[in-house]
Symmetry: C2
Subunit: 189 residues, 2 copies
């Protein structure tokens, strides 16, 4: 239990939060998730950072909240835009709020009934993710896409369910210079 | 239960959130809370807005979250800086997060053991209010003080406990041109 109130500083330009725990996700951490992830990963000989997470997390207790920022790099793996791993919350009935800070991104959402939604985020957008919706972010801009997030501390992360389904039912690709949301050929309904 | 994900836009300059519920708190809504509140209220003949709240709230269910902004006007009632009513959460074991957007304010915090904390907020400050801490904001700047807030949707607001105690144990006043945190003479421990 967190006993005492505290402050930390968030730099909206870089997305950095002083004193927060930093997690770095590289292509090698999630090559399976992209259609051409393994080929690109092996052939390029480099292992780019896809996104970084600065998080202030607390013990997993109902009533507390965890919060932080995600700083997504711009880029593509094959024709797919850089995206996060995506997850349900382990405690399914817990929501999450995103606040766009910089850049342009898409928030892909999918519930257990396989309903799909896509929301666009930029600076000043507040996106409410109700309980029960898995969420993945995609950087569709030319610079970093940065957002603030906050969710109940007892929510937990379920990445497995998404992996087993082959990802979300849709993927976000560049096709002849345009951003398109297409059916994911690897999705197992 | 909120079924579908959605977005709303937050203007960090004005603090306005499109489509959010607006609540306006005037001096007459809280004259009791200021040492000279009733005298000022009666003598001035005007009823100034102290602060406005733009809130996106959801049914009171565990796992959901409510969020919004508070836009505090600058000013004083007697020697006390404009402040919010202040409250515990009815469900005591629920936290809250504040994010400073504009201006300068103080966040006064007090728990049931009468421990007191004061945190300073400005643009980019994230303040975590752990479960069990009553909270009140004070605008100590010369312009609006605006912050974003988010808390569990089942938290509820307990204003009564603060009223019965005569407020927080400290008040924030201007004394000979300086901002001072002083003992609240009306506080009943």
């Amino acid at each position: 239990m967190i006993k005492n109130p505290y402050t930390v500083n968030l730099d909206p330009e870089s997305g950095k939060i002083e004193g927060a725990k930093l997690t770095i996700r590289r292509l090698s951490d999630m090559a399976d998730l992209y259609l051409e992830g393994k080929e690109v990963s092996l052939s390029s000989g480099v292992d780019p950072i896809i996104y970084e997470i600065y998080e202030c997390s607390h013990p997993s207790l109902e009533g507390d909240m965890n919060f932080g920022t995600t700083v997504m790099r711009p880029g593509k793996v094959g024709k797919e835009f850089y995206m996060t791993k995506g997850h349900f919350h382990s405690k399914l009935h817990t929501g999450e709020l995103y606040q766009g800070l910089k850049g342009i991104g898409l928030l892909l959402l999918q519930n257990q009934d396989k309903e799909f939604k896509c929301l666009k985020l930029s600076e000043g957008t507040l996106a409410y993710i109700p309980p029960g919706w898995a969420h993945r972010s995609v950087n569709i801009g030319e610079g970093p896409f940065i957002y603030f997030f906050i969710y109940p501390a007892d929510a937990g992360h379920d990445y497995e369910s998404i992996m087993k389904m082959g990802g979300f039912c849709k993927i976000v690709v560049e096709d002849q210079g345009k951003i398109k949301i297409q059916d994911n050929p690897r999705f197992k309904a």
